[in-house]
Point group: C2
Chain length 337, copies 2
């Protein structure tokens, strides 16, 4: 049997999710008759909305949920610290949930929020997630969301990102200015907001030099990591082999170093490398890695502040707000500076 | 007003924490009279034990809490993945709580568990925590704990660690065998279980060569990181300067590389370096870092399995069980192999 959600109740009763939620919270906006209908069905289906840990939107659990893809990544690890610094000042607990890039896991986590476990959610979307229907429902039911890093552009809420487009544009331009002709772009997804913006920045910098994106220069490391790695190695062995590469996420930087070591290629002599990365070892790699360093801690802090501000307000309508905190291109010896 | 805990109730009523907990869970072991007394006081003091999200020991929230110092650390990031792999198979949610090495934060997190938010706890102790009175109380009240990495030797439960003593012993021996005479030990705490075992291993390897631990060779990076860093740099500039170093936690490896760069010392020429570390960049540092690589994912997995096994059992007494999963010394170019 599939899990009973607030949506199940709404559908069954031909009511909106928001009405069902309000009825369960005994809102004065809802008639006694509707409340009775909702509660009867909830009882029948064994659906429990937790009255102690807080109800959706009633702001009493003093807990926020952070939904992110993973923690084996400096960006997210630092962002968590930024989030916690703000939450703590405001007397909130932080619960961290990992989706491991799976839409299914993400969905299960979000379903758990229906029981009122958290007062609000800070979220960075998983790689496999392509729609936000379920998030819309939770927001309608009174649970506030703030997105950071990996966002849904068309959700009416605060969205905290870095300047993904400009950063990728500047990094690609840097490679072009230092002699690269065949620049690869290593992507981590075809659909994520950050992936498409970074790819657009790369494309724009090439276009400025009258170059078009060659299909073989864009390698997406999505479901079969090894296959993509072999594709990368292959591209480094061809006659017109690649001489520069922009890795759009941190975890793709080390595979480049590994491929060069295996193929006896020198960085930056044979291949110049830049990666989006918050690795604190970047400066001590061989050679030191040029990075686009994201303001990870700051992004976490600003995202948490946006959520806290919302939770303190009396009215409860979230509005679209885009906050962009710029990254820094740090040139080190993996490019010919 | 300080928060009302189950301990407050127990003290006030002159009952054990365990009795109070059982009374609140309506256990058949407790008399009606006692239940009445407990519930009356709980009501009076506004103490709520959450009947929906599960009660302590009643195992219904299908959620486990992971209490760790931080996530900007490969060991903990990988251990979380190990934990989640097991939890998921067993249909459990995982909530991650960070103590940031603070005893106070750790205590607040544990207090939150009194409300029955989790069915069990996987924990790695914070640097500032020196006693486990409060954990004992929670365990008595029926909340199972399993420790990993940073443990309390004298708590009667499963404890999953790596071979800290042997690993430090072997690393120090490796440095001695490759010509080091003045080996530093960089510690992260004076009190943690891992700190003392690793220091003992270092001490034993020196003793085998008739050497004693020199006070100036043990540097503890605890509360003032910069002061400790200056102490490290100072030790590298003295006449009988240090020629080898064992970093007992990952985050102390990069400061060594930084100090050598600032002082124009070569690794391994002037200073040989080994660090406990799960950094996946270790092999690509300049020079590649010799590491004691801990089975982080495996430790997380085994710890979670121990907790799951316990949660599935009918009886509810935890027993002491020590599981040691060995680390591997990976020799790279930061030592003269």
């Amino acid at each position: 049997m599939s899990k009973i959600t607030i949506k199940t109740l709404a559908k069954e009763l031909k009511l909106s999710v928001s009405t069902v939620s309000k009825a369960m919270r005994d809102s004065h906006e809802i008639s006694q008759e509707t409340k009775l209908r909702v509660n009867e069905l909830a009882k029948k289906l064994n659906y429990v909305i937790n009255p102690y840990a807080s109800s959706l939107g009633s702001k009493t659990s003093k807990t926020i949920g952070v939904v992110i893809p993973e923690v084996v990544d400096s960006f997210f690890a630092l962002a968590i610290n930024g989030i916690e610094s703000v939450a703590q000042e405001n007397g909130y607990h932080v619960l961290i949930y990992l989706t491991h890039e799976s839409r299914e896991k993400e969905q299960n986590i979000l379903m758990d929020f229906e029981s009122g476990r958290v007062d609000g959610v800070l979220m960075s979307v998983s790689r496999d997630t392509q729609d936000h229907l379920y998030i819309d429902e939770l927001m309608q039911a009174g649970l506030p969301f703030v997105f950071f890093d990996r966002v849904f552009d068309d959700v009416e809420t605060s969205q905290i990102t870095t300047n993904d487009y400009e950063s990728a544009y500047l990094a690609t331009k840097h490679l072009l200015e230092h002699g690269c002709k065949e620049i690869m772009f290593l992507a981590y997804s075809k659909s994520l907001s950050i992936a498409s913006k970074r790819l657009q920045g790369y494309t724009a910098a090439l276009a400025e030099q009258g170059l078009v994106v060659a299909q073989q220069n864009v390698i997406t490391f999505d479901h079969d990591f090894n296959a993509s790695y072999l594709q990368l190695k292959g591209r480094l062995q061809e006659a017109n082999r690649s001489d520069g590469v922009l890795a759009s996420v941190e975890k793709l930087a080390i595979p480049i170093y590994q491929a060069c070591e295996e193929l006896h290629l020198s960085i930056p002599g044979d291949l110049q490398v830049i990666s989006f990365s918050n690795l604190d070892t970047a400066a001590y790699l061989n050679p030191p890695l040029s990075t686009i360093t994201q303001p990870a801690f700051e992004i976490g802090k600003v995202a948490a502040t946006a959520l806290m501000t919302f939770l303190k307000r009396k009215d409860s309508v979230q509005v679209k707000e885009e906050i962009v905190i710029p990254s820094t291109l740090v040139v080190r010896k993996s490019t010919k500076a």
